[in-house]
């Protein structure tokens, strides 16, 4: 069973990059397409080794790789995976083949560069989740902008160039100050090692500024209200596969950044600004849901629902207690699967009808029952119906949030109701009622074929697996989350016990975790 492969994480990270190079070099569109799909599938299979070789119950980083990258500043090429990042990596490698396969079926324009960019994006995303060094993390974090920028700008909808530029500049400007914060942290602690930073007492003055810079960068990425305005543009304009990846994985870089860096590395500042962030998260939940309710375009409805859903994830992260954080980790995966699936379903419909306006549909139950049935499951998963994945994550987050500050749990619960409302409204307009438009007739509209089912069914199965057996996942997530929280508590106690002078950067107390 324990088949140990050296450099497993590097292989998972850079297989797509290798695939991208090969895709660029081989001639012929057909070969490019299938090579890209093969690369993502192989990457997925290899990443499953993380699951099979997992050291159950171990809290720390596994499969660690560590090498010097740039000695003068102590920058390291360090990769590792724990319960927090494991499922985000698997989510990425799982969604990629689906997105690529969808593109094989429906993208005709310049398939070579398209596939290469998708694969480059995969490398950057996996790298973000695996990096254990701040600089390495930042490099992957920023590098993901370039492929996404081209994917939106070249293969997107009508307003794609505006959306692409906005996406790039927003996120680039948002993370500009993070570079300075990374450097400030380095010079006050002497390390870029993320895990070591989590167990280091950082002076309060440094914490405040660094936290704000990190929080801004991740708030733009997540996106947290009011930094979300790039998201609807980018989502709506991106090609379907791009939306799947953008919503499914890319946004998680922001919440993951909070969870891995901003909150545990700067605990005091995080505690201080926690309520403010929680307010923003709640505003995002309610605002996103209300705007989603107003949308006439299904895709922008899903886009705004992301703003709302990421608000829950943020609440759990901000709560910084076991339930909140574990729930958030699972909810990140859930949102990736559910919203990815929603974009996929919308994309499938769009390829048939070339419209996404709710008013153009109606009566789909009768004409395309398989599609409609699956759409209902996907929508319910997104709305958090018990028995499906979304419920488990949201409920756990609510518990954590209630423990943190009950008022936020109440507000978030209101968001759950709104979510059910806008998703069901959309479903009603699309599926129920009589067929008013002949284009929706069963003679004109084909139901899902086997190729399309191959993409949708695995997602739907996972909804049930997570919804019915959440402990399969929590068992791996919880130890790492608990360890992180223990370290955090220890660091905060050490900070108060030592009574460090506020601005004395030199005195740094490193407390051992546990």
């Amino acid at each position: 069973m324990a088949l140990s492969i050296p450099y497993l994480l590097s292989i998972i990270t850079f297989l797509p990059l290798l695939g991208a190079v090969v895709v660029m070099l081989v001639p012929g569109d057909g070969a490019k397409k299938w090579l890209a799909l093969a690369t993502t599938l192989i990457t997925f299979v290899v990443s499953l080794l993380l699951w099979t070789n997992w050291q159950e119950g171990q809290a720390g980083m596994q499969f660690v790789e560590d090498a010097v990258w740039f000695a003068p500043l102590g920058i390291r090429y360090a990769l590792g995976v724990d319960g927090i990042s494991l499922f985000l990596v698997l989510l990425t490698t799982f969604l990629m083949p689906i997105a690529v396969y969808f593109s094989i079926l429906y993208v005709d324009k310049k398939i070579g560069p398209y596939m290469a960019l998708m694969l480059l994006l995969e490398t950057a995303m996996i790298g973000v989740f695996l990096a254990l060094d701040l600089v390495l993390f930042f490099v992957f974090f920023e590098a993901s902008l370039i492929p996404m920028y081209f994917l939106i700008g070249e293969w997107g909808g009508k307003n794609r160039v505006y959306a692409a530029v906005k996406f790039f500049l927003y996120t680039f400007a948002g993370s500009a100050l993070m570079v300075v914060a990374i450097l400030i942290v380095y010079y006050s602690t002497g390390t870029f090692d993320i895990m070591k930073l989590q167990s280091t007492v950082i002076p309060p003055a440094v914490q405040t500024w660094a936290f704000l810079a990190f929080a801004l960068a991740f708030a733009v990425k997540t996106p947290l209200f009011p930094f979300h305005t790039w998201l609807p543009d980018a989502h709506v304009q991106a090609p379907t596969a791009g939306s799947i990846i953008l919503a499914g994985v890319l946004l998680k870089m922001g919440t993951y950044g909070y969870l891995r860096l901003a909150m545990p590395v700067f605990p005091q500042a995080a505690e201080q600004f926690g309520p403010l962030l929680a307010i923003l998260a709640c505003v995002g939940i309610l605002y996103g849901a209300l705007v989603a309710l107003m949308q006439k375009d299904i895709k922008s409805l899903v886009a705004y629902s992301s703003v709302a859903h990421l608000g829950y994830v943020m609440l759990g992260v901000i709560a910084m207690n076991a339930q909140g954080v574990s729930g958030s980790v699972l909810q990140m995966v859930n949102h990736g699967l559910s919203t990815g699936a929603l974009f996929l379903m919308v994309g499938l419909l769009y390829e048939r009808r070339h419209t996404r306006m709710l008013d153009d549909f109606g009566g789909l139950w009768a004409s395309v029952p398989v599609y409609t049935g699956l759409f209902l499951v996907v929508a319910m998963s997104s709305a958090g119906l018990p028995g499906l994945n979304g419920f488990v994550g949201e409920f756990t987050i609510m518990l954590g949030t209630y423990e943190y500050m009950p008022i936020f749990a109440v507000l978030a619960a209101a968001g759950v109701i709104l979510a059910a409302w806008y998703l069901l409204t959309a479903f009603r307009k699309m599926a129920q009622g009589p067929i008013t438009n002949p284009a929706n007739d069963s003679s004109n509209l084909k139901d899902l074929n086997i190729k399309e089912l191959i993409m949708v069914v695995p997602l739907v199965l996972l909804f049930f697996v997570i919804g019915l057996f959440p402990n399969l996942f929590f068992d791996k997530i919880n130890p790492s989350v608990e360890a992180m929280l223990e370290t955090r508590t220890a660091v905060m106690q050490a900070a108060t016990a030592e009574q460090m002078p506020a601005l004395q950067l030199a005195e740094i107390v490193v407390t051992e975790a546990k």
Binding site: W69, A143, G153, L169, F172, A176
Partner: protein
């Protein structure tokens, strides 16, 4: 070995000597062409390149123990040698770009290549100087050459204007510089960095005179590296000069002047850092911000790159405000990265130029990805790198320089610099947008560009190193490490 022999160690000036000899060889080879024949003319660039290659070899061979000579007026150490590699890279790539370009501009190619080599030697002298008079010598050697090269196209009004403007303003700047030297000499009794520092340490220096001197020196240096408000000449000269000259100028002058700049401030007047640190920080903020804001509105690619180069001078200056050893390493890294990415960008401009023109408007790029996908791809690499996006060289360049600033307690300056790079991203991105997302127009480069092997090679080298230095920054630091670290231990 006696101390007198130590003082005249020619090893210390070996790279410069080789360069000057190479320039002489180029001129000798050119003599064979008299009388309208041009038998040897095609070989001139290769002779020049060989000179550059030998000099680079000598520089690498000399790495190790620092050697000083001429009573400590000049030193060959890791920093000066690393700087040699930067200027030599610039010179080599500029020569490659010139092979096709220059004969169409001016027939006197012999003088051209000889001047390129002499200019490079001047820049190298600046990197090695430990005395303000030697700095001035280097400054004038390379400036004189560049005045001539800027006006190389005698029939072109813009080129004439560029030369004239550059010369007049350059002469002013030199006057400021010399005046500053005089003040510093008056205040401390010496022009040698060590002695200047010693006079301050001993308290014998007249501080008010010294500060006036430093201010004048900043003006002189500031002109050469085009800091705001001494930058007025830059866009016109960049636009008017033949493009390979512009490319060379943008890298070489920055490298030479910053090297001398850094060395003077770090070793010559470290005690006055609280004063000039603030002055330089303010200049850096002005330079970055104005450079970037002006670049936003340019349609001429050469003017855009001119303002971008002003902004980059501002970034490099950020490290100097702190004047720590790390800042020197960072600045060197910045310069070598800038050499590759900026040379690459100028190589593209050359390909975009119409016959007989020495500039291209940005609409030449519209839809370039459809007509010339490879060109668009490498240009994007250079643009992303100039914007400072990882994983390209420009990211680590900024990271290292700003790291030094943060280490020295200038976090706010680094923050302003990073916000500036976000502004910069806008106009670099606009070029990428135009290449990829605009449809080709009548202006777009559709004809097969004037590809020649040397330009292709230049683009290849520039792109490969722009990526390599972004992925493996230790490539460069390992190369110069022994020397750089040795120097820092020394002073």
């Amino acid at each position: 070995m006696s101390s007198a022999a130590m003082e005249l160690n020619l090893n210390a000036v070996l790279p410069e000597l080789v360069m000057v000899v190479a320039a002489a060889v180029v001129m000798l080879v050119d003599i064979l062409n008299r009388g309208g024949r041009s038998v040897t003319r095609p070989f001139l660039p290769w002779v020049a390149l060989a000179g550059v290659a030998v000099t680079a070899g000598v520089s690498l061979w000399l790495l190790g123990e620092p050697v000083s000579t001429f009573q400590g007026m000049l030193i060959t150490d890791g920093r000066s040698l690393a700087l040699n590699l930067v200027t030599l890279t610039g010179a080599a790539l500029a020569i490659l770009l010139s092979i096709r370009y220059i004969p169409a501009v001016n027939n006197q190619t012999g003088e051209y290549y000889a001047l390129i080599l002499l200019i490079t030697s001047g820049m190298m002298v600046m990197g090695a100087a430990l005395d303000l008079m030697v700095v001035f010598l280097g400054l004038e050697i390379f400036s004189m050459g560049l005045y001539i090269l800027a006006g190389l196209k005698r029939s072109d009004l813009r080129s004439n204007e560029a030369a004239m403007k550059y010369f007049l303003l350059g002469a002013f700047a030199s006057a400021f510089f010399v005046y500053g030297v005089a003040f510093v000499y008056g205040a401390t009794g010496s022009t040698q960095f060590n002695a200047i520092a010693a006079a301050q340490a001993a308290g014998t220096a007249d501080l008010s005179f010294l500060y006036v001197g430093i201010a004048l020196l900043i003006a002189g240096f500031g002109f050469k590296v085009s800091l705001v408000p001494f930058h007025m000449w830059t866009p016109d000269v960049y636009q008017g000069a033949p493009t390979p000259v512009t490319a060379f100028m943008s890298i070489g002058t920055k490298a030479g002047a910053f090297a001398a700049f850094y060395r003077f401030f770090v070793t010559g007047v470290p005690d006055a850092q609280p004063v000039w640190g603030w002055a330089l920080a303010i200049l850096a903020v002005l330079t970055m911000t104005l450079g970037n804001l002006a670049a936003l509105r340019q349609t001429s690619l050469k003017r855009l790159l001119a303002y971008s180069s002003i902004a980059h001078a501002g970034y490099i200056l950020v490290g100097l405000a702190t004047a720590t050893p790390a800042a020197i390493d960072g600045a060197l890294y910045y310069l070598i990265s800038y050499a590759f990415m900026n040379m690459g960008a100028f190589a593209i401009v050359i390909l975009l130029e119409r016959q007989g023109e020495m500039d291209a408007l940005s609409n030449r790029l519209a839809g370039l990805s459809k007509t010339h996908p490879q060109l668009a791809l490498v240009m994007s690499v250079f643009m992303f790198s100039l914007a400072g996006v990882p994983p390209f060289a420009g990211f680590f360049a900024k990271f290292f320089v700003f790291a030094a600033a943060v280490e020295g307690g200038w976090s706010w300056l680094a923050a302003i610099a990073m916000l500036n790079s976000a502004i910069g991203a806008y106009y670099y991105l606009r070029i990428v947008v135009s290449m990829y997302f605009d449809e080709p127009t009548a202006e777009t480069l559709t004809e097969s560009p004037n590809y020649s092997l040397p330009i292709t090679v230049t683009l290849g080298i520039a792109a490969v190193f722009t990526i390599a230095l972004g992925v493996l920054p230790s490539l460069w630091t390992n190369l110069v490490e022994t020397g750089v670290m040795g120097t820092l231990a020394l002073r």
